[in-house]
């Protein structure tokens, strides 16, 4: 894979490790060790002292050493009947994660691609792109304030939130966007799309620039219209890049914390995995369940880790 080091630059066996040591030490301490420690703690009780199975109570369901995982997976779901379980699943952190991934990933990729294609045809491309890209530089907290203001809902008097002002101007009733299930999760996802479309746009625009001009010209000469050129020539050529963007976005979405924490705190059925983990850890002070939730998170991410490594190896092979 990696480019071989020139023979002449070979050095002793020890020297490389001096260069690597600082990085390896901090990485082992802050990433590798916590990774394994988290797995260990997820099988222990709330203080990390006793095995998780000791927290089981008589006559209650119990998964033995996996007791924390029972809490992590099932606590939010009402198991009394299949119908109730189905309904509660879709407002649980896992159900919401599915909505987030479906809408956020498709939303950002479609917006990014649309913008990448359209913006390069106008003279104010740089300015337009900078505006789409701008939310990337803003903190999620700042974005939370911006959008809570857009979604603001007053019970009486003038609507100072833009969205409700538009609704009342059109003669409709204002809506409490962030408290109304299921619209509130969609409203949060819109914030996510607003923040991340710029990322997708930039990467996809770079890929589009690499599409050979001759192929596009040839297609046009053959009478293809702009839509055909886009869907039948450009998209297939940049498909590998689109895949990369999609995997990156799925990972980012799975790890999402700040938007939900700031805008609803995970209330009103908007919970996501990372917020739930934070709450178990730092509000309920239950290390066992908190770490179990994060192990579930890493399990969901693992397939994408392998995708990442595969892509990396493929990249190295063509270097």
């Amino acid at each position: 894979m990696a480019a071989p080091v020139p023979q002449i630059m070979k050095q002793g066996r020890v020297i490389p490790w001096f260069y690597l040591a600082p990085a390896l030490i901090v990485m082992s301490f802050f990433i590798v060790y916590p990774f394994f420690n988290t797995i260990y703690l997820s099988f222990m009780d709330r203080n990390g002292q006793l095995p998780a199975s000791t927290t089981c109570r008589a006559n209650q369901p119990c998964w033995g050493m996996f007791e924390n995982y029972r809490h992590a997976l099932l606590d939010e779901i009402n198991l009394t009947s299949p119908g109730a379980a189905w309904r509660t699943f879709w407002t649980s952190s896992f159900g919401n994660m599915i909505k987030w991934i479906a809408l956020m990933v498709s939303g950002t990729v479609i917006m990014g691609l649309t913008f990448a294609v359209l913006a390069e045809r106008v003279r104010y491309e740089a300015l337009a792109k900078a505006i789409i890209f701008l939310p990337m530089a803003i903190s999620f907290v700042g974005a939370g304030v911006i959008w809570r203001f857009v979604y603001n809902y007053n019970t009486g008097g003038a609507q100072i939130g833009l969205l409700n002002a538009i609704r009342t101007a059109l003669g409709m009733q204002p809506i409490a966007w962030l408290q109304t299930i299921p619209i509130n999760t969609v409203m949060l996802i819109i914030v996510g799309i607003w923040m991340w479309s710029g990322f997708c746009m930039t990467i996809l625009a770079a890929a589009l620039r690499n599409v050979p001009e001759e192929i596009i010209e040839a297609a046009r000469v053959d009478g293809a219209n702009e839509f055909q050129v886009f869907f039948q020539i450009m998209v297939p050529i940049i498909l590998p890049t689109i895949t990369v963007v999609i995997t990156t976005m799925v990972i980012n979405t799975l790890k999402l914390f700040d938007i939900v924490y700031v805008m609803t705190g995970g209330n009103f059925g908007t919970d996501v995995i990372a917020v739930r983990m934070y709450r178990e850890m730092y509000i309920n002070y239950n290390t066992g369940v908190g770490t179990a939730v994060s192990v579930v998170l890493i399990l969901l991410i693992t397939p994408f880790i392998f995708l990442n490594i595969r892509r990396f190896l493929a990249q190295e092979a063509t270097r």
């Binding site: 802050f30 420690n37 913006a119 530089a137 803003i138 304030v145 609507q159 939130g161 994060s294």
Partner: protein, 393 residues
């Protein structure tokens, strides 16, 4: 203009409309925040920020809303005797306002219910505007002053100080009050204290490691680098608990050092990945000839690799800077209230302390100003860094 040219122009109109519409949708929420942060608090809560662009004054709508029932449609309020109890009793909110304003006055305060400070300010402003008693300015810097010093009173920091009644905990010496724990001024400094070392350290460490990965030969080089790629994806949340437990034992919770180290460790995989790809892409002859000329690895690293890697370092520095500056989770867990940073301060305003929009919007803009400057000044490097590898997050 000839016909084909005109034709072409017309055909491009839909394109321009779509691009402009999307761009507008994207920027409007931010403009709303910016405009709001400069409006007086009573305006913010009674009319939308977009009304500042219209000629229409808020008086007429406010009048319809509050006063048509008590004075009759179309009647001018200026002629009404606001001290007439019969008139005032028509208007519940006005009564509550008076009860508030004349707290302690026996015949009025018996009506009980006190308005919240926000309501009182709104009502007072509305009434003052209606009676022509006071023409309030359209824009003000008070929100920024209040946010910077962390003022949470009924008026504004400036007016309280002008009245000679310093709010509790304040000295009315602006520079000294900037140090207030609840203020954005102090938080801004804290954010800088967190961000600068947390940007330099990982780049330094990553520079060494990336050089080794690119131009040195050692066992396990490839396997280690593949692991590094995997580590980029490990979610931050997963590492918080174990580190928090260790930090508790070491007494590092709530210290800057703890946060610096955490960001260094966590920024490392991406930083090494990016730098290694850049260094590995440099021409091999360069290093070979340097080595033939008797340069050691150390010389090659300091004199050759690092100066040449400046573009990569710039991308990385911008990324890490924005990442650390905008981070909430790490600051929340490891710094918390002992050394509040800007994101922590705002999230507190939003979630628990319930500060008004005037403070939230000003504080949000204070937190955004530095990232925006960095972003616009170094957009080129930012984009380049993003293209060089997937963004961590």
């Amino acid at each position: 203009m000839n016909l084909p040219k005109l034709n072409r122009l017309l055909r491009r109109i839909p394109l321009h409309l779509v691009v402009l519409a999307l761009t507008l949708i994207w920027i409007i929420p931010t403009i709303g925040l910016l405009v709001t942060s400069f409006r007086p608090v009573e305006d913010i809560n009674t009319s939308g920020w977009w009304t500042v662009f219209s000629r229409e004054t808020k008086t007429s709508t406010a009048y319809d809303q509050w006063c048509s029932s008590c004075h009759g449609e179309g009647q001018d309020v200026a002629g009404v005797d606001l001290s007439d109890p019969a008139v005032v009793s028509e208007l519940n909110s006005a009564l509550r306002l008076l009860a508030f304003m004349r707290r302690g006055h026996p015949d009025i305060s018996q009506n009980g219910q006190m308005p919240t400070s926000q309501e009182a300010a709104d009502i007072a402003a509305t009434l003052q505007g209606l009676t022509g008693e006071e023409e309030s300015a359209r824009f003000t810097l008070d929100n920024y002053i209040d946010a910077l010093v962390g003022y949470r009173g009924l008026q504004t920091y400036t007016s309280d100080c002008a009245d000679g009644t310093p709010p509790s905990g304040f000295t009315c010496n602006f520079l000294r009050d900037l140090g207030n724990r609840r203020g954005m001024g102090r938080a801004f400094v804290n954010s800088l204290l967190v961000t600068i070392p947390a940007t330099i350290l990982p780049i330094l460490f990553a520079g060494f490691a990336a050089y080794a990965f690119a131009w040195m030969d050692f066992r396990g080089r490839q396997v280690m680098f593949a692991i590094l790629v995997a580590l980029q994806v490990v979610p931050l949340q997963m590492t918080l608990v174990p580190i928090f437990r260790i930090y508790s034992q070491l007494g590092l919770n709530g210290t800057f050092l703890g946060v610096w180290l955490f960001h260094t460790g966590f920024g490392m995989p991406y930083a090494i990945y990016l730098m290694r790809n850049f260094l590995g892409g440099l021409p091999r002859d360069l290093f070979e000839s340097a080595y033939l000329d008797g340069a050691s690895h150390w010389t090659a690293f300091v004199r050759l690799a690092m100066p040449l890697a400046m573009p990569a370092i710039a991308s990385l520095a911008i990324f890490q800077f924005l990442w650390v500056w905008n981070d909430l989770l790490v600051a929340l867990v490891f710094l918390g209230s002992s050394n509040p940073v800007v994101t922590y301060q705002i999230s507190n305003m939003v979630t628990s302390l319930g500060a008004g929009w005037q403070l939230q919007t000003a504080a949000a803009f204070i937190s955004m100003i530095l990232p925006l400057i960095v972003f616009f000044a170094f957009q080129r490097y930012f984009v380049r860094g993003m293209l060089a590898g997937a963004v961590k997050g």
